[in-house]
């Protein structure tokens, strides 16, 4: 009896603590919004995750160094990286960069990883989907009420 009570209590405590842990950050992973809010550490390596902003990827003259912007739609942060990019690194796709904040507020990455989402579909479907989205966007410009 005592054993069961103790067991249940301990499990409850564990669950509460785990839930509490999700409020915080245990893996040094920050969104651009958090970086903008100065939540990220200054002199320590951490990770930034988000989308590569459309049209932001620029290669410098040396051919190795790339500049791009990572965004979580609310805020964005410029990233500098020199090195090989993964195949899946694309504008509009998920990315995780590891590095430090430079003095100018840009993020100097030592490693850039692509994050794949859970969607798998053939190219035609992807094409159709993006077309549909574009159409929808176009329509919503014409009649904002219709989209709702």
């Amino acid at each position: 009896m005592i054993a069961i009570a103790a067991g249940v209590t301990l499990i409850a405590i564990a669950a509460a603590l785990v839930l509490n842990a999700f409020q915080g950050n245990v893996v040094f992973f920050f969104s651009p919004t958090q970086v903008a809010a100065k939540e990220a550490p200054l002199d320590r390596t951490f990770r930034v995750g988000g989308m590569v902003e459309k049209g932001s990827v620029k290669r410098r003259a040396d051919g190795l160094t790339v500049d791009f912007i990572v965004t979580d739609t609310a805020k964005s942060i410029p990233v500098v990286y020199s090195g090989l990019l993964p195949d899946l690194f694309k504008e509009g796709k998920g990315v995780v960069a590891q590095g430090k904040l430079g003095p100018d507020g840009a993020f100097v990455a030592s490693e850039v990883l692509a994050k794949h989402d859970e969607n798998y579909m053939p190219p035609e479907a992807a094409h159709a989907l993006s077309k549909a989205q574009a159409d929808k966007a176009a329509k919503s410009v014409v009649s904002p009420g219709a989209a709702r």
Partner: protein, 222 residues
């Protein structure tokens, strides 16, 4: 109810004082080495600061893993374990007492010594506090899970290496989050998430560890 608990704890402590005290050994060693480490590595303040938590936590892991093979082995060899099983005390109480003694001899001294090392390594006060807290919450996890591993590999050929295989993977998350708490504090991030996770580990391991240890001891003495 608690009287036999303290009886066993007291005896373990007394034995550790008399015996070729491996536990004490680890502590002495750890303090000496941690103090000497800057000599070997070179005293760059920033670098030392970043390492402090890692050094302390690795010391804790070491103390735990290396003392574990002998947690029950001596008592098995000289018949004390047998006597504990046939005594009217609930086995769970005996196991809890052994775990408590193990922690008092390895985890606690290390946790208490760690702030000293942190000071030497130039940790700021808030990080020192978190280091102490993380060790105080985290080291019992090592004792709880370790006791289960020690009991499972008792009297088994090649038990020591097997014990390492069993418990080290489970210890790694504790090390990571423990050291992470300090690093987060150094980086100016709130470390309560790390500590909560350690707390959750503690709650779960305090449930599983003693249960598994009891069951395994019965098997080992069969």
């Amino acid at each position: 109810m608690l009287q036999p608990f303290f009886l066993i704890v007291r005896r373990e402590l007394r034995l550790a004082l008399h015996r070729k005290g491996d536990a004490l050994n680890v502590l002495v060693f750890f303090v000496v080495v941690a103090s000497l480490f800057p000599l070997g590595v070179g005293p760059e303040p920033n670098q030392l600061r970043a390492m402090a938590a890692g050094v302390a936590w690795i010391g804790a892991l070491l103390a735990a893993v290396l003392s574990l093979p002998r947690l029950f082995a001596a008592d098995l060899a000289d018949g004390t374990l047998e006597q504990m099983l046939v005594s009217p005390q609930p086995l769970m109480l005996v196991v809890l007492a052994k775990i408590a003694a193990h922690w008092l001899l390895t985890g606690l001294p290390l946790a208490l010594a760690a702030p000293l090392i942190g000071l030497q390594y130039g940790l700021p006060v808030d990080a020192l506090v978190i280091l102490l807290a993380s060790l105080l919450i985290g080291t019992p996890v090592l004792s709880f899970l370790g006791a289960a591993g020690a009991a499972l590999t008792l009297g088994v050929r090649g038990g020591g290496a097997l014990l390492g295989l069993l418990v080290l993977p489970l210890f790694v998350p504790v090390l990571v989050f423990g050291a992470g708490a300090v690093t987060a504090t150094l980086a100016g991030i709130n470390s309560s998430a790390h500590l909560s996770l350690l707390g959750a580990f503690l709650a779960v391991s305090s449930l599983i560890g003693p249960w598994a240890a009891c069951a395994a001891l019965r098997v080992a003495l069969d």
